[in-house]
């Protein structure tokens, strides 16, 4: 789409666009270029010189057992976060949609967690499951279950998944709720007259009409799980125990800042960049489709 009516001149628009272009160049393109460049080198331990290794860092990474494990961990983590945030959100949205009175009050309560930063959510869940003082872990202990996410990798994963999914339930709820509100009532009533019951109507009419929203949320939630859950993992497990919760983004941080392995960290950044690129393309392809819907 283009405007028919435009203003003349070329220095004014360049001046207007300059702040954004300069900031993008300095803080986006230059660092991204650096990441790509550094990924082709191995610096010496003193940081004085670097040896060109071509794709050596990538070859090393792809052969590295820990990196492949981290890929798998990230895949499991994102799938679980997406499921644990979308299913309850859909359920709550369906119930909220059935209410005429009071849905505003419930909605206000339900969107609170969205405002809570992932890192703060991490602290809240850590507190509930803390091995020494946590309420939930204490009650689990009374039931005979010995909760210890500090030692047990599976429990650690469960905890970071729930803590990450929690705030997203609010987000997904809002989108599902808006989509449900836009399902034409006439279609639903016609089905009701034909004797279709609630669940029947839900699976045959409502769910298919929600599919564009659901697909959109799927992509957005995977992106979230990949890139925005760093705070949760850093506060709860710091990637442990035995790297069982080290997702890719956490590994970039751990290798680059804690381990000072710049070549490897940059190569990991580049791989992540490709992942983001693919996800963004999927998102946009989908957005185009959504316009027709």
């Amino acid at each position: 789409m283009e405007k028919r009516v435009t203003f003349r001149g070329w220095w004014l628009p360049l001046l207007l666009i300059a702040p954004q272009v300069i900031i993008s160049a300095v803080f986006f393109f230059y660092p991204a270029g650096q990441a790509i460049w550094q990924s082709l080198f191995i610096p010496d331990p003193f940081g004085l010189s670097a040896q060109f290794v071509g794709f050596g860092n990538f070859e090393y990474l792809l052969g590295d057992k820990y990196y492949r494990t981290s890929f798998l961990t990230t895949a499991i983590f994102s799938i679980l976060v997406t499921l644990c945030s979308m299913v309850p959100a859909l359920f709550l949205a369906v119930i909220a949609d059935r209410l005429i009175k009071g849905s505003g009050v419930y909605r206000t309560m339900l969107i609170w967690p969205y405002a809570v930063a992932p890192a703060v959510a991490g602290v809240l869940w850590l507190f509930m499951f803390n091995t020494r003082v946590g309420v939930v872990s204490w009650y689990l202990g009374q039931l005979g279950y010995d909760w210890n996410h500090v030692l047990n990798g599976g429990e650690a994963m469960g905890l970071v998944v729930v803590a990450s999914a929690w705030g997203r339930i609010s987000y997904n709820f809002l989108f599902f709720f808006a989509a449900l509100q836009s399902v034409p009532r006439s279609v639903i009533e016609a089905a009701a007259i034909d004797g279709a019951h609630f669940w029947r109507r839900f699976f045959t009419i409502v769910l298919p009409m929600l599919s564009p929203t659901a697909f959109f949320l799927l992509v957005v939630n995977v992106v979230y799980a990949f890139f925005e859950t760093f705070g949760v993992i850093h506060t709860i497990t710091s990637g442990g125990p035995q790297q069982s919760t080290t997702i890719l983004v956490y590994k970039v941080f751990a290798d680059g800042f804690v381990g000072q392995d710049l070549g490897s960290s940059s190569a990991q950044s580049v791989i992540l960049l490709i992942v983001v690129g693919v996800l963004t393309v999927i998102q946009f392809k989908y957005v185009e489709k959504r316009v027709h819907y």
């Binding site: 405007k3 070329w10 272009v21 650096q34 119930i95 009071g102 419930y106 609170w112 890139f227 506060t235």
Partner: protein
Amino acid sequence: MAQQSGMVEKRGAGIWMTHVFMILGVIVIFFPIWLAFVASTVSQPEIVSPPMPLLPGGHFWENYKAALFSGVNVPVATMLFNSLVMAIGIAVGKIIISLLSAFAIVYFRFPGRSTFFWMIFLTLMLPVEVRIVPTFEVVAGFGMLNSYSGLIFPLIASATATFLFRQFFLTIPDELAEAARVDGARPMRFFIDIVVPMSRTNIAALFVILFIYGWNQYLWPLLITTDPEMNTIVMGIKQMFPSGDDVAEWPVIMATSILAMIPPVIVVVSMQKLFVRGLVDSEK
């Protein structure tokens, strides 16, 4: 849409069950926040001998005063102030640069227009998390570690806002620009008198989203604020945990967590309509 209920069952026993489910859902979702609040109103001994109480105690003022004015490494009041500067800086900065560049892209034809457009578009794909090491080096090179500009600038370069404004500007009727041109108005007059006032709802909606985005940042402040005086509250909470086997000051930490979520919660709840609109718009 009151008449929408019609014959589709929205009454009787079904409706009560629906309320019951809804209330259960809200309780489950809300429980972590409630527990944090309770923990911020009881004393340390009550927490370290589990199970802790589930109803608020009488140490509210004591704990919040301890958090706000002494904290663990630095008073929480300082961290709150830093977060506020960062969140507002990011929101206002992003809105200003995006309004300007979207105006340039929509209302002018100039050399390099499409190149710049694609350049901005590409920044959509680069979250801070994937370029942390080189960005850190750039910011360190500028001497911006432990400064507000270091906290703000790397995060205001994002294309989302520009795209949002571009979409909106394209819907402004051409007649308005035409009339402005006939009247001999300069482009910037048109921008300030017509375009910006017409965009105020979009600006407000975007402000809500960007404020929360800025407030909730974790990794970036963690990397570049080594001086506790510059810590933001969201990253500062983790720094309050002792290393090693010492017992954490749970009431103070939980009071800080509550303080950390109050500003974004107020923004979200009080501007709910704008917030939902901003959310839906910025994801389109």
